[in-house]
Amino acid sequence: MATVGPTVTRPFAHAFAAYGRQNDRVVSVTNDLTRSSEADVFRTELPDRSYSLGMAEQNLVGVLSGLAREGLEPFYTSFAVFTTRRPYEQIALNVAYPNLPVRLMGFLPGITTPGGVTHQAIDDLALMRNLPNMTVLELADATDVETFWGTVEALPGPLYCRVPRGEVPRLFTEPFELDRVRSLTTGDDLTVVSIGAAVSHASGAIELLRSTGLGVTHLVVSTLKPFGDEEVPRSIERSGRVITVENHLVTGGLGTAVAEVIAELGLNATLRRVGIADTFTHGGSPDYLFGYYGIDTSGIIRAARELVDDPLDGLDLDGPEVRWQSPGVGGSSSEGL
């Protein structure tokens, strides 16, 4: 998709340190992945407020709870899979239940990591979204990463947030706003709702679809919970057809959130969910994996073909024209796996 500026190097690392400098109560807690999860700048600048808890995530989350109970605002930055899975119960009972201002940051989510199945958080959004009191975000670009800090600061309860790592593209000019979707294109025939690392893939496919004259609204979600922006049902109702695109299982994340909106509001719309379809995954480069699991131009056009009469009928979906060129949305680098 069209970016709106040059990529930014490690925007989280710098913004996190800046947030810490401005807020005495902010502390950083890591599980031996300090540089890999961009807490190294914070640690260099604010060593007294950086805690290394080692590779013991369950205790780590309990410690976050204790720090927050003492009035601090602790951040735990790690790979999304280690942020959410091992300490799931501890997050539920010691962070979400007491509604504490703990910030859980997940890097290299889904299949953006080269680390293989054990490193691929394909379920983190589902885990966190189902927890009462939890706010759930997925930041898609450098603007999101730079501008979501006001939301963080204002949040009395816990936050889970997927964050892009390393070289991060700039896709948006408008700053992040809680529970607001961004409309990248508008059109009445089809609604595409995308999130995170899947946004660029969606944009690529939508460009092709629109080239056939199809009217496509592209909504980008950064806030998965709450999920109350009325632009979503409005557009779905208008088009009657919707495709969700996410770097996650098709259950429990964006696809499910949209399905719930459709069913609760009785929108009479048909949904296709592009994402990881009830399977475990394997290792490889992000480009390869997004292709393998169909979270790419071909996969999205295949879904569109099920909803709309013959879009791009003659196009060979496995041919080179539709191979989307990755702009390296957070995580294509294997640095510090």
């Binding site: 805690y51 309990g62 410690v63 709870s65 009972l93 010691n94 007491p98």
Partner: protein
């Protein structure tokens, strides 16, 4: 306080007796209860509340309001830690980790005048905050620890924040021996040692019992003292029914290390009649017909203090 040693020990022992009596009465009234936990931990709780902890006055009412909501809902119920004093780092805090010990804790609060005895009338009732397994709206319960092996980590977080800021208030934790089977307990001690948290004291109620029976038949844990030392703590084992021994162990901590006090206890102290039960009927006591009277009769707790 050293000069009044006898005063506090007899006061603590009176509190311990009272804890057992109240827990027994509640178990009788509710046709079952977490009685043996009160029996094994009575002296530990009494020593903590009477002697060791520097808690502020209760900031919560002696008679708790009914449940109004969980944290995050509005209105939410008052925080259970309030009964242990104001949430201010100048004061000590007490984290009861295994909250199936809540009955013993409620009894302790009553015996130490932080909770009205009338409050116990709501115990275990629908809509009451005095849940059988307490949550952090239950009097004295600061961390919702009913899923075992987790609250110690929360206490470590508190102690870490206080250590770093140089706060006065000490963090006291009571864990059960069953909780030492959970790996998280060892992660927590490992980190407490790494940060040199000498403002943290962990009492272990080593009653050697768990749900299915004696721990040695369920999953042996060996010497908890040796394990705690291997994990970098300053640890000692004491007679957990001896209030002076518990207090001495707590006051002779090593600088720079978290303190672990393994309190060797018995699940039937005060009620020898409990001893005859089958293994799987000790952890949660439900009396058979006439059994409660028999157990009461064989206990010295009632004669001893009633006129």
């Amino acid at each position: 306080m050293e000069d009044h040693r006898d005063d506090w020990t007899s006061a603590a022992m009176r509190v311990a007796d009272g804890i057992r009596r109240l827990a027994f009465e509640l178990a009788v009234e509710h046709e079952g209860g977490y009685l043996i936990q009160a029996c094994s931990s009575a002296e530990i709780l009494a020593t903590l509340y009477v002697r060791l902890m520097n808690l502020g006055p209760s900031s919560a009412p002696p008679l708790p309001a009914p449940f109004t909501g969980v944290p995050g809902s509005s209105p939410r119920s008052r925080w259970g830690g309030g009964w242990n004093g104001p949430d201010d780092p100048a004061w000590d805090r007490f984290v009861l980790s295994p909250t199936h010990y809540s009955t013993a804790l409620y009894a302790t609060l009553v015996e130490t005048d932080r909770l009205s005895s009338e409050a116990l009338e709501e115990y275990g009732k629908d809509g009451s905050v005095l849940e059988m397994i307490g949550a952090e709206h239950s009097p004295g319960v600061e961390v919702t620890g009913g899923s075992l092996g987790q609250a110690l980590s929360v206490a470590v977080g508190r102690a870490l924040a206080r250590k770093q800021r140089g706060n006065q208030g000490h963090i006291w934790v009571l864990i059960s021996d069953g909780e030492t089977q959970e790996g998280q307990t060892w992660e927590a001690l490992q980190s407490a040692a790494a940060f040199g948290l000498d403002n943290l004291t962990v009492m272990v109620d080593a009653n050697r019992w768990q749900v299915d029976g004696p721990m040695d038949r369920v999953m042996p844990v060996g010497s908890l003292c040796a394990k705690a030392i291997a994990f970098g703590c300053s640890a000692v084992e004491v007679d957990g029914h001896d209030v002076s021994a518990i207090a001495d162990a707590a006051t002779s901590a090593e600088p720079g290390r978290p303190r672990v006090i393994v309190c060797a206890t018995h699940p039937w102290t005060g009620f020898p009649g409990l001893r005859r039960r089958d293994d799987a009927s000790v952890h949660f006591v439900r009396f058979g017909p006439g059994e409660a009277d028999m157990i009461r009769a064989s206990s010295q707790l009632f004669e001893r203090t009633q006129p």
